[in-house]
Point group: C2
Chain length 244, copies 2
Protein backbone atom coordinates (compact mmCIF):
# COMPACT_ATOMS: atom_id res chain seq x y z
CA UNK A 1 0.00 0.00 0.00
CA UNK A 2 1.27 3.50 -0.83
CA UNK A 3 2.84 5.11 2.23
CA UNK A 4 3.18 8.77 3.21
CA UNK A 5 4.52 10.66 6.19
CA UNK A 6 2.82 13.33 8.24
CA UNK A 7 5.66 15.70 7.48
CA UNK A 8 6.04 19.16 5.96
CA UNK A 9 2.64 20.64 5.12
CA UNK A 10 0.62 17.46 5.60
CA UNK A 11 -2.05 17.75 8.26
CA UNK A 12 -3.72 15.26 10.55
CA UNK A 13 -7.02 16.75 11.76
CA UNK A 14 -9.55 14.60 13.56
CA UNK A 15 -11.17 11.95 11.38
CA UNK A 16 -9.44 13.11 8.19
CA UNK A 17 -5.96 14.06 7.01
CA UNK A 18 -4.80 16.48 4.34
CA UNK A 19 -1.87 15.55 2.11
CA UNK A 20 -0.15 18.39 0.23
CA UNK A 21 2.79 19.16 -2.05
CA UNK A 22 5.00 16.37 -3.37
CA UNK A 23 2.91 13.72 -1.59
CA UNK A 24 -0.31 14.98 -3.22
CA UNK A 25 1.42 14.88 -6.61
CA UNK A 26 2.70 11.40 -5.79
CA UNK A 27 -0.88 10.22 -5.18
CA UNK A 28 -1.77 11.49 -8.68
CA UNK A 29 1.28 9.84 -10.21
CA UNK A 30 0.36 6.53 -8.56
CA UNK A 31 -3.20 6.98 -9.94
CA UNK A 32 -4.73 6.28 -6.52
CA UNK A 33 -8.50 6.85 -6.81
CA UNK A 34 -11.07 7.94 -4.19
CA UNK A 35 -12.13 4.85 -2.24
CA UNK A 36 -8.65 3.31 -2.41
CA UNK A 37 -6.49 3.01 0.72
CA UNK A 38 -3.12 4.49 1.64
CA UNK A 39 -1.03 4.38 4.80
CA UNK A 40 0.02 7.58 6.52
CA UNK A 41 2.74 7.37 9.15
CA UNK A 42 2.94 10.03 11.86
CA UNK A 43 6.78 9.75 11.85
CA UNK A 44 6.59 8.83 15.53
CA UNK A 45 5.97 5.12 15.02
CA UNK A 46 2.19 5.11 14.40
CA UNK A 47 0.55 4.09 11.10
CA UNK A 48 -2.82 5.50 10.00
CA UNK A 49 -4.71 3.31 7.54
CA UNK A 50 -6.65 5.82 5.42
CA UNK A 51 -9.12 5.88 2.51
CA UNK A 52 -8.77 8.52 -0.20
CA UNK A 53 -11.76 10.92 -0.28
CA UNK A 54 -10.61 13.44 -2.93
CA UNK A 55 -7.37 14.33 -4.62
CA UNK A 56 -5.89 16.85 -7.02
CA UNK A 57 -2.30 17.92 -7.78
CA UNK A 58 -2.26 20.37 -4.84
CA UNK A 59 -4.06 18.48 -2.13
CA UNK A 60 -5.58 15.14 -1.17
CA UNK A 61 -8.05 14.42 1.63
CA UNK A 62 -8.17 11.00 3.28
CA UNK A 63 -10.45 9.47 5.90
CA UNK A 64 -8.66 7.76 8.80
CA UNK A 65 -9.90 4.16 9.19
CA UNK A 66 -7.50 2.65 11.72
CA UNK A 67 -4.44 3.56 13.80
CA UNK A 68 -1.79 0.88 14.50
CA UNK A 69 1.82 0.86 15.73
CA UNK A 70 4.24 0.79 12.80
CA UNK A 71 5.63 -2.74 12.60
CA UNK A 72 8.58 -1.67 10.46
CA UNK A 73 10.24 0.24 13.26
CA UNK A 74 13.08 -1.54 15.09
CA UNK A 75 13.17 -1.32 18.91
CA UNK A 76 16.85 -0.36 18.88
CA UNK A 77 17.96 3.10 17.80
CA UNK A 78 21.10 2.89 15.65
CA UNK A 79 23.05 6.02 14.69
CA UNK A 80 25.35 5.61 11.68
CA UNK A 81 28.33 7.99 11.57
CA UNK A 82 30.30 7.93 8.30
CA UNK A 83 33.44 9.63 7.07
CA UNK A 84 32.09 11.33 3.92
CA UNK A 85 32.70 9.21 0.79
CA UNK A 86 32.65 10.36 -2.83
CA UNK A 87 29.61 10.97 -5.04
CA UNK A 88 26.68 8.60 -5.08
CA UNK A 89 28.15 6.42 -2.33
CA UNK A 90 26.60 8.93 0.06
CA UNK A 91 23.14 8.40 -1.45
CA UNK A 92 23.69 4.68 -1.29
CA UNK A 93 24.73 4.73 2.38
CA UNK A 94 21.64 6.77 3.28
CA UNK A 95 19.22 4.57 1.34
CA UNK A 96 20.61 1.23 2.52
CA UNK A 97 21.13 2.28 6.15
CA UNK A 98 17.50 3.45 6.33
CA UNK A 99 16.25 0.19 4.77
CA UNK A 100 18.42 -1.85 7.15
CA UNK A 101 16.95 0.01 10.15
CA UNK A 102 19.23 2.93 11.09
CA UNK A 103 17.49 5.76 13.01
CA UNK A 104 19.96 8.54 12.25
CA UNK A 105 22.81 9.12 9.81
CA UNK A 106 25.63 11.60 10.38
CA UNK A 107 28.38 12.38 7.88
CA UNK A 108 31.65 14.02 8.79
CA UNK A 109 35.04 14.97 7.34
CA UNK A 110 37.69 12.49 8.45
CA UNK A 111 41.43 12.66 7.81
CA UNK A 112 41.41 10.55 4.64
CA UNK A 113 38.18 11.86 3.07
CA UNK A 114 38.66 12.32 -0.68
CA UNK A 115 35.38 14.23 -0.91
CA UNK A 116 35.80 17.77 0.38
CA UNK A 117 32.44 19.57 0.03
CA UNK A 118 32.49 23.37 0.01
CA UNK A 119 29.32 23.54 2.07
CA UNK A 120 28.00 20.15 3.24
CA UNK A 121 25.01 21.85 4.88
CA UNK A 122 23.72 22.69 1.38
CA UNK A 123 23.44 18.96 0.70
CA UNK A 124 21.34 18.17 3.77
CA UNK A 125 17.98 18.82 2.11
CA UNK A 126 18.76 16.37 -0.70
CA UNK A 127 20.23 13.80 1.69
CA UNK A 128 17.15 13.99 3.91
CA UNK A 129 14.86 13.54 0.89
CA UNK A 130 16.73 10.30 0.05
CA UNK A 131 16.15 9.19 3.64
CA UNK A 132 12.42 10.04 3.43
CA UNK A 133 12.02 8.11 0.16
CA UNK A 134 13.82 5.08 1.61
CA UNK A 135 11.76 5.27 4.81
CA UNK A 136 8.49 5.39 2.80
CA UNK A 137 9.53 2.53 0.54
CA UNK A 138 10.76 0.26 3.31
CA UNK A 139 7.84 0.95 5.66
CA UNK A 140 9.73 2.71 8.43
CA UNK A 141 7.83 4.46 11.21
CA UNK A 142 10.17 7.44 11.32
CA UNK A 143 12.16 9.46 8.81
CA UNK A 144 15.78 8.96 9.89
CA UNK A 145 17.48 12.35 10.11
CA UNK A 146 20.61 12.92 8.01
CA UNK A 147 22.98 15.53 9.39
CA UNK A 148 26.55 16.81 9.22
CA UNK A 149 28.97 16.84 12.16
CA UNK A 150 31.42 19.77 11.95
CA UNK A 151 34.26 17.91 13.67
CA UNK A 152 35.42 14.52 14.88
CA UNK A 153 34.97 15.49 18.52
CA UNK A 154 31.24 15.85 17.94
CA UNK A 155 31.17 12.48 16.16
CA UNK A 156 32.71 10.76 19.19
CA UNK A 157 30.41 12.74 21.49
CA UNK A 158 27.30 11.54 19.64
CA UNK A 159 28.60 7.96 19.75
CA UNK A 160 29.43 7.84 23.48
CA UNK A 161 25.91 9.08 24.32
CA UNK A 162 24.51 5.77 23.02
CA UNK A 163 24.49 2.49 24.98
CA UNK A 164 26.87 0.77 22.57
CA UNK A 165 29.32 2.97 20.61
CA UNK A 166 31.18 0.99 17.94
CA UNK A 167 34.13 2.02 15.77
CA UNK A 168 34.67 -0.21 12.73
CA UNK A 169 38.38 -0.56 12.01
CA UNK A 170 40.29 -2.72 9.51
CA UNK A 171 43.52 -3.26 11.41
CA UNK A 172 45.22 -3.48 14.80
CA UNK A 173 43.76 -4.66 18.10
CA UNK A 174 39.99 -5.11 17.73
CA UNK A 175 37.05 -6.91 19.30
CA UNK A 176 35.09 -9.24 17.00
CA UNK A 177 31.76 -7.52 16.23
CA UNK A 178 29.67 -10.58 17.07
CA UNK A 179 31.39 -11.03 20.45
CA UNK A 180 30.55 -7.42 21.34
CA UNK A 181 26.95 -7.75 20.11
CA UNK A 182 26.28 -11.12 21.76
CA UNK A 183 27.24 -9.48 25.08
CA UNK A 184 24.89 -6.54 24.43
CA UNK A 185 21.67 -8.00 23.00
CA UNK A 186 19.48 -5.91 25.30
CA UNK A 187 20.73 -2.47 24.22
CA UNK A 188 18.18 0.02 22.93
CA UNK A 189 20.65 2.42 21.32
CA UNK A 190 23.96 2.06 19.48
CA UNK A 191 26.30 4.03 17.24
CA UNK A 192 28.41 2.75 14.35
CA UNK A 193 31.35 4.78 13.06
CA UNK A 194 32.69 3.80 9.62
CA UNK A 195 35.37 5.39 7.46
CA UNK A 196 35.64 6.89 3.98
CA UNK A 197 37.32 5.20 0.96
CA UNK A 198 40.78 5.33 2.53
CA UNK A 199 39.71 4.19 5.99
CA UNK A 200 40.77 5.91 9.21
CA UNK A 201 44.11 7.26 10.38
CA UNK A 202 45.49 5.46 13.43
CA UNK A 203 45.03 8.54 15.60
CA UNK A 204 41.31 8.57 14.76
CA UNK A 205 41.00 4.99 16.02
CA UNK A 206 43.15 5.82 19.06
CA UNK A 207 40.89 8.77 19.95
CA UNK A 208 37.81 6.51 19.62
CA UNK A 209 39.48 3.93 21.88
CA UNK A 210 40.33 6.59 24.48
CA UNK A 211 36.75 7.90 24.30
CA UNK A 212 35.60 4.40 25.28
CA UNK A 213 34.25 3.09 21.97
CA UNK A 214 34.52 -0.59 21.08
CA UNK A 215 37.05 -0.90 18.24
CA UNK A 216 35.46 -3.68 16.17
CA UNK A 217 36.36 -5.97 13.32
CA UNK A 218 33.71 -7.27 10.92
CA UNK A 219 35.84 -10.18 9.76
CA UNK A 220 38.88 -10.32 7.51
CA UNK A 221 36.95 -9.33 4.42
CA UNK A 222 37.59 -5.70 3.46
CA UNK A 223 34.22 -3.98 3.07
CA UNK A 224 33.86 -0.93 0.81
CA UNK A 225 33.05 2.29 2.63
CA UNK A 226 29.47 2.18 1.30
CA UNK A 227 29.02 -1.47 2.31
CA UNK A 228 30.26 -1.31 5.91
CA UNK A 229 27.30 0.70 7.30
CA UNK A 230 24.58 -1.62 5.93
CA UNK A 231 26.51 -4.69 7.13
CA UNK A 232 27.04 -3.20 10.61
CA UNK A 233 23.39 -2.06 10.95
CA UNK A 234 22.19 -5.49 9.78
CA UNK A 235 24.38 -7.21 12.39
CA UNK A 236 22.94 -4.91 15.08
CA UNK A 237 19.37 -5.63 13.93
CA UNK A 238 20.07 -9.35 13.93
CA UNK A 239 21.68 -9.36 17.37
CA UNK A 240 18.84 -7.33 18.95
CA UNK A 241 16.09 -9.48 17.43
CA UNK A 242 15.00 -6.90 14.85
CA UNK A 243 15.57 -9.09 11.81
CA UNK A 244 12.54 -11.33 12.23
CA UNK B 1 48.54 -5.05 -0.67
CA UNK B 2 47.50 -5.55 -4.31
CA UNK B 3 45.73 -8.87 -4.74
CA UNK B 4 45.48 -11.16 -7.77
CA UNK B 5 43.99 -14.56 -8.47
CA UNK B 6 45.65 -17.56 -10.04
CA UNK B 7 42.98 -17.61 -12.70
CA UNK B 8 42.89 -17.52 -16.51
CA UNK B 9 46.41 -17.51 -17.96
CA UNK B 10 48.23 -16.84 -14.68
CA UNK B 11 50.68 -19.59 -13.76
CA UNK B 12 52.05 -20.85 -10.48
CA UNK B 13 55.30 -22.74 -11.16
CA UNK B 14 57.59 -23.73 -8.31
CA UNK B 15 59.25 -20.79 -6.58
CA UNK B 16 57.83 -18.19 -8.98
CA UNK B 17 54.51 -17.24 -10.55
CA UNK B 18 53.68 -15.64 -13.88
CA UNK B 19 50.91 -13.06 -14.09
CA UNK B 20 49.48 -12.30 -17.53
CA UNK B 21 46.77 -10.32 -19.32
CA UNK B 22 44.56 -7.90 -17.41
CA UNK B 23 46.36 -8.65 -14.14
CA UNK B 24 49.77 -7.82 -15.67
CA UNK B 25 48.30 -4.55 -16.99
CA UNK B 26 46.82 -3.90 -13.56
CA UNK B 27 50.29 -4.24 -11.98
CA UNK B 28 51.51 -1.56 -14.42
CA UNK B 29 48.54 0.68 -13.70
CA UNK B 30 49.17 0.36 -9.95
CA UNK B 31 52.83 1.25 -10.65
CA UNK B 32 54.04 -1.72 -8.59
CA UNK B 33 57.83 -1.92 -8.97
CA UNK B 34 60.23 -4.89 -8.80
CA UNK B 35 61.02 -5.56 -5.12
CA UNK B 36 57.49 -4.62 -4.04
CA UNK B 37 55.08 -7.25 -2.72
CA UNK B 38 51.71 -8.47 -3.98
CA UNK B 39 49.36 -11.19 -2.81
CA UNK B 40 48.32 -13.95 -5.18
CA UNK B 41 45.38 -16.13 -4.19
CA UNK B 42 45.10 -19.63 -5.63
CA UNK B 43 41.25 -19.29 -5.65
CA UNK B 44 41.11 -22.34 -3.40
CA UNK B 45 41.59 -20.49 -0.12
CA UNK B 46 45.41 -20.14 -0.07
CA UNK B 47 47.26 -16.79 -0.26
CA UNK B 48 50.77 -16.52 -1.74
CA UNK B 49 52.75 -13.53 -0.53
CA UNK B 50 54.97 -12.66 -3.50
CA UNK B 51 57.67 -10.16 -4.49
CA UNK B 52 57.66 -8.64 -7.97
CA UNK B 53 60.75 -9.66 -10.00
CA UNK B 54 59.94 -8.13 -13.40
CA UNK B 55 56.87 -6.71 -15.11
CA UNK B 56 55.71 -5.37 -18.46
CA UNK B 57 52.25 -4.85 -19.98
CA UNK B 58 52.07 -8.49 -21.12
CA UNK B 59 53.56 -10.40 -18.23
CA UNK B 60 54.86 -10.10 -14.68
CA UNK B 61 57.04 -12.56 -12.78
CA UNK B 62 56.88 -12.77 -8.99
CA UNK B 63 58.87 -14.74 -6.42
CA UNK B 64 56.79 -16.63 -3.86
CA UNK B 65 57.82 -15.69 -0.31
CA UNK B 66 55.16 -17.29 1.87
CA UNK B 67 51.97 -19.39 1.60
CA UNK B 68 49.16 -18.85 4.15
CA UNK B 69 45.47 -19.76 4.37
CA UNK B 70 43.28 -16.86 3.16
CA UNK B 71 41.74 -15.25 6.25
CA UNK B 72 39.01 -13.52 4.25
CA UNK B 73 37.23 -16.75 3.40
CA UNK B 74 34.15 -17.62 5.52
CA UNK B 75 33.76 -21.21 6.73
CA UNK B 76 30.16 -21.36 5.56
CA UNK B 77 29.30 -21.63 1.86
CA UNK B 78 26.34 -19.38 1.00
CA UNK B 79 24.63 -19.58 -2.40
CA UNK B 80 22.57 -16.51 -3.34
CA UNK B 81 19.72 -17.15 -5.82
CA UNK B 82 18.03 -13.99 -7.14
CA UNK B 83 15.10 -13.34 -9.42
CA UNK B 84 16.78 -11.15 -12.06
CA UNK B 85 16.30 -7.43 -11.33
CA UNK B 86 16.71 -4.52 -13.74
CA UNK B 87 19.94 -2.88 -14.89
CA UNK B 88 22.74 -2.10 -12.48
CA UNK B 89 20.94 -3.73 -9.56
CA UNK B 90 22.43 -6.98 -10.86
CA UNK B 91 25.98 -5.56 -10.66
CA UNK B 92 25.20 -4.28 -7.21
CA UNK B 93 23.90 -7.63 -5.96
CA UNK B 94 27.00 -9.40 -7.26
CA UNK B 95 29.45 -6.91 -5.77
CA UNK B 96 27.80 -6.65 -2.34
CA UNK B 97 27.05 -10.38 -2.01
CA UNK B 98 30.71 -11.17 -2.72
CA UNK B 99 31.90 -8.57 -0.20
CA UNK B 100 29.46 -9.88 2.40
CA UNK B 101 30.78 -13.42 1.92
CA UNK B 102 28.58 -15.29 -0.60
CA UNK B 103 30.29 -18.23 -2.35
CA UNK B 104 28.05 -18.45 -5.41
CA UNK B 105 25.44 -16.25 -7.08
CA UNK B 106 22.72 -17.58 -9.37
CA UNK B 107 20.22 -15.41 -11.24
CA UNK B 108 16.97 -16.70 -12.68
CA UNK B 109 13.76 -15.54 -14.38
CA UNK B 110 10.91 -15.47 -11.88
CA UNK B 111 7.25 -14.75 -12.58
CA UNK B 112 7.41 -11.02 -11.80
CA UNK B 113 10.81 -10.24 -13.35
CA UNK B 114 10.66 -6.93 -15.23
CA UNK B 115 14.04 -7.62 -16.81
CA UNK B 116 13.73 -10.14 -19.64
CA UNK B 117 17.19 -10.69 -21.15
CA UNK B 118 17.35 -12.10 -24.68
CA UNK B 119 20.34 -14.25 -23.81
CA UNK B 120 21.38 -14.12 -20.15
CA UNK B 121 24.31 -16.44 -20.86
CA UNK B 122 25.92 -13.60 -22.85
CA UNK B 123 26.05 -11.57 -19.63
CA UNK B 124 27.86 -14.22 -17.59
CA UNK B 125 31.38 -13.11 -18.56
CA UNK B 126 30.70 -9.55 -17.42
CA UNK B 127 28.89 -10.70 -14.26
CA UNK B 128 31.81 -12.98 -13.35
CA UNK B 129 34.29 -10.14 -13.90
CA UNK B 130 32.33 -8.05 -11.37
CA UNK B 131 32.57 -10.96 -8.95
CA UNK B 132 36.34 -11.30 -9.52
CA UNK B 133 36.90 -7.56 -8.93
CA UNK B 134 34.84 -7.64 -5.73
CA UNK B 135 36.65 -10.78 -4.54
CA UNK B 136 40.05 -9.13 -5.15
CA UNK B 137 39.06 -5.91 -3.43
CA UNK B 138 37.50 -7.55 -0.39
CA UNK B 139 40.26 -10.13 0.08
CA UNK B 140 38.25 -13.26 -0.65
CA UNK B 141 40.01 -16.60 -1.07
CA UNK B 142 37.82 -17.71 -3.97
CA UNK B 143 36.14 -16.05 -6.95
CA UNK B 144 32.42 -16.66 -6.34
CA UNK B 145 30.88 -18.05 -9.53
CA UNK B 146 27.97 -16.17 -11.08
CA UNK B 147 25.63 -18.30 -13.17
CA UNK B 148 22.16 -18.44 -14.71
CA UNK B 149 19.52 -21.03 -13.81
CA UNK B 150 17.25 -21.81 -16.78
CA UNK B 151 14.19 -22.55 -14.65
CA UNK B 152 12.75 -22.31 -11.15
CA UNK B 153 12.96 -26.07 -10.65
CA UNK B 154 16.74 -25.88 -10.92
CA UNK B 155 16.78 -22.95 -8.46
CA UNK B 156 14.92 -25.01 -5.86
CA UNK B 157 17.12 -28.02 -6.63
CA UNK B 158 20.31 -26.02 -5.98
CA UNK B 159 18.82 -24.70 -2.73
CA UNK B 160 17.70 -28.04 -1.29
CA UNK B 161 21.19 -29.47 -1.84
CA UNK B 162 22.52 -27.11 0.84
CA UNK B 163 22.20 -27.67 4.60
CA UNK B 164 19.93 -24.66 5.09
CA UNK B 165 17.77 -23.56 2.13
CA UNK B 166 16.02 -20.23 2.81
CA UNK B 167 13.32 -18.46 0.81
CA UNK B 168 12.91 -14.76 1.71
CA UNK B 169 9.25 -13.76 1.47
CA UNK B 170 7.45 -10.56 2.37
CA UNK B 171 4.05 -11.92 3.32
CA UNK B 172 2.07 -14.87 4.69
CA UNK B 173 3.19 -17.54 7.11
CA UNK B 174 6.96 -17.23 7.68
CA UNK B 175 9.67 -18.16 10.15
CA UNK B 176 11.69 -15.26 11.60
CA UNK B 177 15.14 -15.38 9.99
CA UNK B 178 17.00 -15.11 13.29
CA UNK B 179 14.99 -17.96 14.85
CA UNK B 180 15.96 -20.20 11.92
CA UNK B 181 19.62 -19.13 12.04
CA UNK B 182 19.97 -19.41 15.83
CA UNK B 183 18.83 -23.05 15.49
CA UNK B 184 21.38 -23.69 12.71
CA UNK B 185 24.61 -21.99 13.79
CA UNK B 186 26.72 -25.04 12.87
CA UNK B 187 25.75 -25.27 9.20
CA UNK B 188 28.52 -25.18 6.62
CA UNK B 189 26.31 -24.45 3.60
CA UNK B 190 23.15 -22.45 2.98
CA UNK B 191 21.10 -20.99 0.14
CA UNK B 192 19.16 -17.72 0.07
CA UNK B 193 16.43 -17.14 -2.52
CA UNK B 194 15.34 -13.52 -3.02
CA UNK B 195 12.92 -12.00 -5.50
CA UNK B 196 13.01 -9.32 -8.23
CA UNK B 197 11.49 -5.81 -7.93
CA UNK B 198 7.94 -7.12 -7.74
CA UNK B 199 8.66 -9.93 -5.30
CA UNK B 200 7.44 -13.50 -5.77
CA UNK B 201 4.09 -14.91 -6.83
CA UNK B 202 2.37 -16.97 -4.12
CA UNK B 203 2.80 -20.17 -6.12
CA UNK B 204 6.58 -19.62 -6.17
CA UNK B 205 6.62 -19.43 -2.38
CA UNK B 206 4.28 -22.44 -2.17
CA UNK B 207 6.61 -24.51 -4.37
CA UNK B 208 9.58 -23.51 -2.16
CA UNK B 209 7.60 -24.54 0.93
CA UNK B 210 6.68 -27.90 -0.61
CA UNK B 211 10.34 -28.42 -1.61
CA UNK B 212 11.22 -28.07 2.08
CA UNK B 213 12.75 -24.59 2.14
CA UNK B 214 12.36 -22.35 5.18
CA UNK B 215 10.06 -19.47 4.22
CA UNK B 216 11.66 -16.60 6.13
CA UNK B 217 10.87 -13.04 7.12
CA UNK B 218 13.64 -10.48 7.61
CA UNK B 219 11.45 -8.19 9.68
CA UNK B 220 8.62 -5.90 8.72
CA UNK B 221 10.83 -3.52 6.80
CA UNK B 222 10.47 -3.97 3.05
CA UNK B 223 13.94 -4.45 1.58
CA UNK B 224 14.63 -3.53 -2.04
CA UNK B 225 15.47 -6.47 -4.28
CA UNK B 226 19.13 -5.40 -4.39
CA UNK B 227 19.31 -4.97 -0.60
CA UNK B 228 17.79 -8.29 0.49
CA UNK B 229 20.73 -10.50 -0.61
CA UNK B 230 23.43 -8.50 1.24
CA UNK B 231 21.25 -8.34 4.38
CA UNK B 232 20.53 -12.10 4.27
CA UNK B 233 24.19 -13.03 3.63
CA UNK B 234 25.30 -10.72 6.45
CA UNK B 235 22.82 -12.36 8.85
CA UNK B 236 24.17 -15.79 7.84
CA UNK B 237 27.77 -14.64 8.35
CA UNK B 238 26.88 -13.20 11.74
CA UNK B 239 25.00 -16.30 12.91
CA UNK B 240 27.80 -18.67 11.86
CA UNK B 241 30.55 -16.60 13.49
CA UNK B 242 31.98 -15.25 10.24
CA UNK B 243 31.56 -11.57 11.05
CA UNK B 244 34.40 -11.28 13.54
Amino acid sequence: MARFFMAGTNLLKGPTAIIRGRDAEHIQVLRIRPGEDVTICDTEGKDYKCRLVRADREEAEVEILEVTPCKGEPDVRVTVLCGLPKGDRVDYIIQKSVEAGASEIVFFQSARCVAKPEDPYKKLERWNRISEEAAKQSGRGIIPKVSWAPDYGEVLNIAVHTELPLFMYETGEREPLNTVLEANKEIRSAAVITGPEGGFEKYEADLARIAGLHICSMGERILRCETAPVVAVTALMYATGNLS
